[in-house]
Each structure stands twice: as C-alpha cells, then as structure tokens.
Amino acid sequence: MLIEADPYCLIEGMAIAGLAVGATRGAEVLAHIAAGQNVAANTALLLDLCETMKFGSLCALGGFTPHPVTSALRLFPEDFGGTPLVAAAE
C-alpha cells in the first residue's frame, strides 16, 4: 500500500528536492523492507528519512508524506518485521 502511494508524490513533487528525492528513496527503502533485506537497518533509515522530509521539505506535501509511513511503522510493526501491538479489548 505504502509503496503504491509514493509515486503520486513523485509526479506532484518533481521540482521539489525534499519531496521528489525523498519519496523516491523512501519507496526504494520500503521495497527493500518488503523484500526482507536488512529490515532493522532499513527501518531505521526510513525513520531518519521521514524526519528529514517532515522538517526539511519546502512544500507541505513533502512535510506530510512521511506521516502515513511513520504511522504504519508505529501502529503496524508486524508489517516491518516487529511484533504486533496488543489488540484493544473487545
């Protein structure tokens, strides 16, 4: 899902370094994580990239794009090789 979301930002942000380059590298790192390569190191790299994009982007789209990524990392750790969060009581 996340990997599909990123190309939109590439089209929108062609002229903007933080967004265009950041989203490209983000999609690449996500692909590496999805393929199971160096998951822990790549997840740390992804969080680092998200931080750079949030505060370093010229445009608001560049500043917002990392949010769904960081939310997914925080709330669905099992998708990134971590242990699932405890489910809420039903």
Binding site: A17, R25, E28, V29, L49, F55, G56, L58
Partner: protein, 154 residues
C-alpha cells in the same frame, strides 16, 4: 594576485528605516525590518549553510540547508525567506539542525552523479568535500541513500 572576495550576505539588504531587535545564537542584533534571518546572522558573522541563496537574487528558499529554529514557531523555516521580527529568538546551529541539513544534503547527493572531481562548476572543490562526506560520512554510504535510479529519469 587573488580574486577580490566580497561577503555574500545571502539575501538583499532591506531599505526599511524601522529597526527590529532579535537574538541569533545568543547574540543580540538590530537590523532593518524586512531583513532575512540569513542576512541578520551574516551581519553577526554567522554563515548559515546554503546552496541557493545569494545577495544578488531574491531569495526563494529552495535548497533547505539554511533551516533554523525559532522559539515559539513550529517546524524549521528557511533563514533566507523568513524575515527578522522584533523579539525573535533564533538558533542556526543545533544538533537537530545539523542532522536535518545532513539528511537534505544526503538526498541531493543521492540523485547526483559523482563526477565532482571533473566537474567544471566545482572549481573550489568545496562540493567534492561535501559529497565525499555525504557518501563516506559518519554513517557511511547508506543502503538506499545512494541509488542507481535517478529521480529525474523516473
């Protein structure tokens, strides 16, 4: 005989008659209203890192290396496009800013051919040093940070 070196203040001078007082990295400074934070810092002798700003052009805040922290304001605005205001407390050098600038520079270099040594635009060799640092810096060349895929070529 060398070239004449002129100080580049980063942005144009303001012609306003009204002065504003602010604090940059703990130093008090008084500048005409409308002066950018980058120029105000430069007048104190503080060089804010930058790639796109020069005092012969209007600032456009593109390179994102001159990011600064301002007390009471969210995020990290660019020093070249943020005008100085009365009572502002600004920091241009913090570990957080250094990390952000390194991250932005790393993104630039990740989409740039590594031909600095042969590049005509790099007569001063400063970019070579920066590029080398970005590639071989404290964390080394990072997976995904240097990529075969160019953003421009899609």
């Amino acid at each position: 005989m060398g070239f004449i070196t002129e100080t580049d203040f980063g942005t144009k001078a303001s012609t306003s008659a009204k002065q504003v007082n602010l604090t940059i990295d703990g130093q008090a400074v008084s500048v005409p209203e409308g002066t950018s934070l980058m120029r105000a810092a430069a007048e104190l002798g503080t060089q804010t890192p930058r790639l796109c700003a020069t005092d012969t052009l209007e600032s456009f805040g593109s390179c994102r290396l001159c990011l600064v922290e301002i007390d009471g304001r969210p995020g990290t605005p660019a020093a070249c496009t943020t005008p100085a205001a009365q009572g502002m407390v600004v920091r241009t050098q913090t570990p957080r800013l250094a990390k952000l600038r390194r991250g932005v520079m790393e993104l630039y270099i990740s989409d740039h051919p590594l031909d600095c040594l042969n590049c005509a635009a790099n007569s001063g060799r400063r970019l070579t040093i920066r590029a080398t640092r970005a590639h071989n810096g404290p964390q080394g060349a990072r997976d995904g940070a240097r990529s075969a895929g160019s953003v421009k070529s899609g």
